[in-house]
Subunit: 481 residues, 3 copies
Amino acid sequence: MRKGDCFLNINDNVVILAGGQGKRMKTDKPKVLLNVLGEPMLEWVIRACEDAGLSQMCIVKGYKAEKIDEYLGGRYQTVLQSERLGTGHAVMQAIPFLEEKRGGNTLILCGDAPFIDKDTISGALALHKEKGCAVTVVTSVIDDPTGYGRVVRNDNGISGIVEHKDCTPQQLEIREINSGCYWFDTAALLSVLGEITPNNAQGEYYLTDCVELLLKKGLRADAFVSQNPNVSLGANDRAGLLRLNDIARMEIINRHLDNGVEFDCLDGVIIGRDVEIGGAAYIKSGCRLLGKTKVGSDSVIGPNTVLINTSVGESVTLNNVYATDSVVENGAEIGPWVQLRPNSHVKAHAKIGDFVEIKNSTIGERTAVAHLTYVGDSDVGNNVNFGCGCVTVNFDGENKFRTKIGDNAFIGCNTNLVSPVSIGDCAYTAAGSTITGDVPAGALAIERGHTVIKDGYAFKKLAKRNEKFAKLEKEQKESKK
Amino acid sequence: MRKGDCFLNINDNVVILAGGQGKRMKTDKPKVLLNVLGEPMLEWVIRACEDAGLSQMCIVKGYKAEKIDEYLGGRYQTVLQSERLGTGHAVMQAIPFLEEKRGGNTLILCGDAPFIDKDTISGALALHKEKGCAVTVVTSVIDDPTGYGRVVRNDNGISGIVEHKDCTPQQLEIREINSGCYWFDTAALLSVLGEITPNNAQGEYYLTDCVELLLKKGLRADAFVSQNPNVSLGANDRAGLLRLNDIARMEIINRHLDNGVEFDCLDGVIIGRDVEIGGAAYIKSGCRLLGKTKVGSDSVIGPNTVLINTSVGESVTLNNVYATDSVVENGAEIGPWVQLRPNSHVKAHAKIGDFVEIKNSTIGERTAVAHLTYVGDSDVGNNVNFGCGCVTVNFDGENKFRTKIGDNAFIGCNTNLVSPVSIGDCAYTAAGSTITGDVPAGALAIERGHTVIKDGYAFKKLAKRNEKFAKLEKEQKESKK
Amino acid sequence: MRKGDCFLNINDNVVILAGGQGKRMKTDKPKVLLNVLGEPMLEWVIRACEDAGLSQMCIVKGYKAEKIDEYLGGRYQTVLQSERLGTGHAVMQAIPFLEEKRGGNTLILCGDAPFIDKDTISGALALHKEKGCAVTVVTSVIDDPTGYGRVVRNDNGISGIVEHKDCTPQQLEIREINSGCYWFDTAALLSVLGEITPNNAQGEYYLTDCVELLLKKGLRADAFVSQNPNVSLGANDRAGLLRLNDIARMEIINRHLDNGVEFDCLDGVIIGRDVEIGGAAYIKSGCRLLGKTKVGSDSVIGPNTVLINTSVGESVTLNNVYATDSVVENGAEIGPWVQLRPNSHVKAHAKIGDFVEIKNSTIGERTAVAHLTYVGDSDVGNNVNFGCGCVTVNFDGENKFRTKIGDNAFIGCNTNLVSPVSIGDCAYTAAGSTITGDVPAGALAIERGHTVIKDGYAFKKLAKRNEKFAKLEKEQKESKK
């Protein structure tokens, strides 16, 4: 039994309506696969269910159904709504799934309302079970309910959901609205699902009709007021989707502010919902922290640092770093302009300077990789110093090999280390050398050609260039500045 | 005859008032040359005229007149207003230009009100011609008209323009204001231009006096209400100019949102008005897309990518790229931190990694330039692999030469290709080689010096360094972390 | 005597209350050391005092007191408030300091209200002295005074400060509030400081009680209304601190807009309060200009440029530059992606291209360092051309040496200059050379190994790779794009 599923029995389940196109989004993706903070809206909805302990899910796909399956990768069951004939029709497609779960309760969610949350789901179910309801509608109380379906309460739960256009003047005063999310007793839902009809202006099967039918059967319907102001929020166009991103973005940033994270300017800052940041870390503008990223206390991140599934220790400096699936230990200083490609592990107090790429390598403690260097597929010891322009030559056109560098080694500038190769502890390679064989501990390796000095050659070769500069110099002096 | 000029006759023309200094801008440029989204305000005004089909333009220059001429580069006629004595005085400088266009109509525009638009220009001219007006004033209806000249309508067009301070209480209620933009019958304008006087507090010649004089002559004046809320918007200081930038910026971004372009955070995003973006492209924060840039569908651009006059295909990834006058084909992946200098052509599915500069070169399909490499003045085939640190040595101090690399070639790390040089198909250069002559197809070229290993040398040479690290290591272990 | 201290006598002094923890900030720093635009709030307060000419300061430290001392580095006297028992108790800790300054006046400031300003300090002191007050309270007049202590005026200054909860209905109407900042006659303050008691709900010693005691003794108290709307603004949590940053940030940017600096998008722009920018400079988004940075007229800075204590001339271009403690002269063009580490001096019209690091070096006029190069500890002449991939090898593992390059020299691509080394005027180094000895003026230096061409070797070596590409090519053609 997982956290949050105290109210759940084994047959409680979810049907997520995910068939819509989102025509005004102008994309060939299903609407529910459009992203909020880098994750499909459907994933937000699935996660809320998972957080509430629900594991039996059926996703009703429709537009570009194959992309839903591709995205889910078999994680949950899907059913196809081949024509889109309304919310009731969508749920009908899930009847075989529901038949198997007759003993439970069924949550119906819209896959394009990403901010549904665990507390709403669990709270509504608790009410649903406590009151023995056939259906429990999740509702919101809002300031301006114009256009929304009103929830009409009576002494025994609710007496119905009335569309705005059908409201009496008294009902128009009601500010509690239907969020489009419901808990049904599964058997009860099945008992009426076949009875709803498309006898309405749009010719669609409405799920709200099920509520009415259950009430007519004398069963109890109730309403649960969600405290989440965004519970039913969705988007019909790209501007609306941008607003969902803004809402999610600021909610997450505010949570980190509460935890003591320092920000001096939020411009361009995007933090994924699974990111963990230690108190007193300082996140500068333009940072994108995504996936399962962690940042330790007192670290200074940014500006313009992108971290994807990267674990950063305490008191680390990351200035204009782009890191994926990597680990950076305490006190490391990295940047500006460094890429850590997957499986890079930078150990404590290492220093990595400008224009460096690390890939699938370990960089030892206090090791320095100061500039213009590529370290790939390498195991680098502690206290190593890389000169500028070093390259681990890890690819021979067909295979990749590893490079091993011992503690305290000194790799001269513009050295090529042709892997597989091993540089011993405290070994030294001279600048400009291409090292193709192992270097013993404490040895110097030097590869050097003939050096020739041709006196006067350059005076002659660059004669025109020198003339040009002399002329330019004169012109610049004559011009105002 | 161009699009939009259906109402135009050959003598219809424009006079753009561009003499102002913009003193509070604190620059030595004419005010009309200050930029909105990277283009001078004057250019916005000229473009609106061109879009409306007008090609006869006279620009009245004044402050720093030579900079106007330099900017225009002879595209349109200019006249000098050597003293700035009001809008009427400015138009007087254009009398010789107007005399030649007597048979037409003259549009008077302020060069520092950049948001005038084609529809306003054409709509106002249509009314002007339909009603046989001597003058048609372009107006706006605004909520708070305080301070603006009110347009007083009567049964026969308008009876005048009344300055705020001269309004009757009834006139103060009028919310239709003069935008400062007018269509005149050219002959009628010429007939009264000599009659206006500077007999007013400021001692200036006001163009609005022409309207009054024409009405006095019994000629018809009318007003055209522009639907453009920003039609007369200008700026008197840098904060105002920043607001103009904001307005233009958001208007363009909103247009792309409507077209289905995905944005998750608009911070630092600036898109020029001529940029075309395919639906379902995703533009991240910090991107500047300028000039004649195009981006294809499903491409992911940014963060912090600058594209100037660059054409990008579909499903391209550009991460922290700075590109000018270049072409990137479908499926290419570029970045982070790559510069494409002018005349770079990156073909389909090529991959360009970190710290790479491409200049005036073609990169073939599926070719990989992974890191720390410069490819300049080169023709690179398909499936080529560049190791790290490669350089095309294209400049000998006086001349630039080209490098040619055949399909499937493999360029080893830190190779120098000294141009002019040709590397054959499937050829291979060994790491650290400087290649000064052509390499035949399928050959290996290797330039290597003597390698010497001096055992124990480094232990001795780096003795002090090793001691330092041993001490440092001890200290760090003793300190808390 | 310094600017602004016309009203000061030698014993006028300041006590800054800096003992607070700022619990909701969730950091182990004292609250006053939290940053606004990169400087501790305490520094803002100290600076306002210094600007007003005050040099006698006593800082009352409490929470994490050692960090205050560490930060101040002995600049000003500190005293420890070992328990935090209210503002009055904090001032009591400074009694020994105050005893020495008996003849003067004492300013009491909150160390966590960073926007106190020189004009408020000096203006309040002028009133204090002119009226012969025992105490002068600095006040603000605000729209909604709910919750604040009201300042009750009478014919003879003020009659007291009344806490919100103790106000009569009439007093609740008062909109003049206590800012928590006071000028006391030092002797008068000392005379009552011992008399205040913690007989209140919180059990704290309140400094406001001193005002009441002085009034009871028949001494005069008055109030000075600060024109600074943010005079007493502080922050209790990270969100509040972010607001202080925003306020400071926009105030500084607005000042630069007034001075004629061009901005087209403020996103990510942070400018420190000591930065000077010439009119008509253009600052793009994402720039952080900090410390004692100066930028000359007509320079174009950004996007994403960070300047720390760096002096930039006129008509300079800095595109994605990260510079610290450096100088860039007129007309230089730098970027994108260049780091200038401390003590770099780039002379007029030099051009520095992508992926270049300069450190502790002089780059001469019109010298070009186009790409992927590191110049450290070097003196480079005028008109020098660096090829791509050059490295000054300035560190041998134990010592750093300098490199000297004469005017008009041409450094070939991927050259290593092993310092100490001197390249003469107009000398030339061939691509791929490692230069370990001096090169005379006008000479060519070339270090080169044996070059061997092995025909057919690569065809064989890369056979599998070629097969892979052939297959890939075929697949891509068969797939849709």
